[in-house]
Amino acid sequence: MEELDLRRALKTVQAPPGFEQMVLSRLREVQAGAAAVRTRPLGLRLALAGGLAALLASFVLINVFVLNPGGSPADLADNRPGQGTLQSGVVQVMDRVDYGREVRNISGDPNTIYILEQVSDNGTYADIIY
């Protein structure tokens, strides 16, 4: 600005007397406030931490066992017989059969002979003796 020298035209001010002391006292106030936060009673901090942990645990449990007990629809689809299990390479058969009841129920029918075979991943048919 050629016509106007801002530095001369503007009123200049200085810091008030004792400015350093004002800054230092404010600095101590801030430090004291920060220290008060750091030295908050241990019991209170533990209670807060415990409360938060309990909240988190209940959230997880509710999600797993109450809101979504069978998993998501995608999980169910993956576990359909012969699909999801093939991916893992391990076949686990858990099928309880009450053969006594089966026999009683069919007592009126022609006699049926049940041949019970041992099913093994490792064995071969040659190992089974009839």
Binding site: M1, L6, R7, A9, K11, A15, F19, V23, R26
Partner: protein, 197 residues
């Protein structure tokens, strides 16, 4: 005080030395208070923001890297605080336009530079200027920083700084001339505020 000495003081401040911090405050207090006064137009606010600036200097000392002069770093903190304060108080928007008009026409641009009327006009014109122009203009024309230094202080490209200084000066000059002519300065200040001069 040489820059080397200031850097050494800053190293001591980083270690928590309050005596070194007090020396840095003493070195920069007048410049920072004046700078913030020119930005805000309020002495009490300027002193308060200056205190906050130095408090931040102390607590952020560990972030300071001696790649730039210490003064520039302190001015960066002060500018950011002033910008936040100006945005918060929206001082420009709360000045009644009638008052601006009356104050601006009370003095004359053609008078002596020591004329209090001119100072008052200039103060009003600066207050009406958007902070995006006000800060670079004051850093350049009052604090005497180069455009490259200002770019470092306000974290803006040099080209943008040049443009803002030029545009800010033009706005100020035009506002003062119009005030001297007794035109509708209040209405114009609203336009400057929006950068539509």
């Amino acid at each position: 005080m040489e820059e080397q000495e200031l850097q050494e003081l800053m190293t001591r401040v980083q270690a928590g030395d309050q005596a070194a911090f007090t020396r840095i405050v003493g070195r920069y207090k007048d410049r920072i208070v004046n700078f913030l006064y020119q930005l805000t137009g309020d002495y009490e606010k300027a002193v308060e923001l200056s205190q906050e600036t130095f408090i931040r200097v102390y607590f952020k000392a560990h972030k300071y890297r001696p790649i730039a002069p210490l003064g520039s770093w302190i001015y960066t903190i002060a500018s950011n605080l002033a910008k936040t304060e100006m945005r918060r108080s929206r001082k420009v928007l709360t000045v009644p336009l009638e008052d601006v008009k009356n104050d601006l026409t009370a003095g004359t641009y053609t008078g002596s530079k020591k004329d209090s009327g001119l100072k008052r006009n200039l103060r009003q014109a600066l207050d009406a200027l958007s902070p995006r122009y006000r800060i670079p203009v004051i850093l350049k024309d009052v604090e005497g920083y180069s455009q490259e230094e200002i770019a470092g202080i306000i974290k803006t490209p040099v080209g943008t700084v040049k443009a803002r200084i030029s545009r800010g000066r033009t706005m100020l000059k035009k506002m003062l001339e119009e005030a001297a002519d007794g035109r509708e300065a209040g209405l114009l200040s609203k336009e400057y505020e929006n950068g539509r001069a």
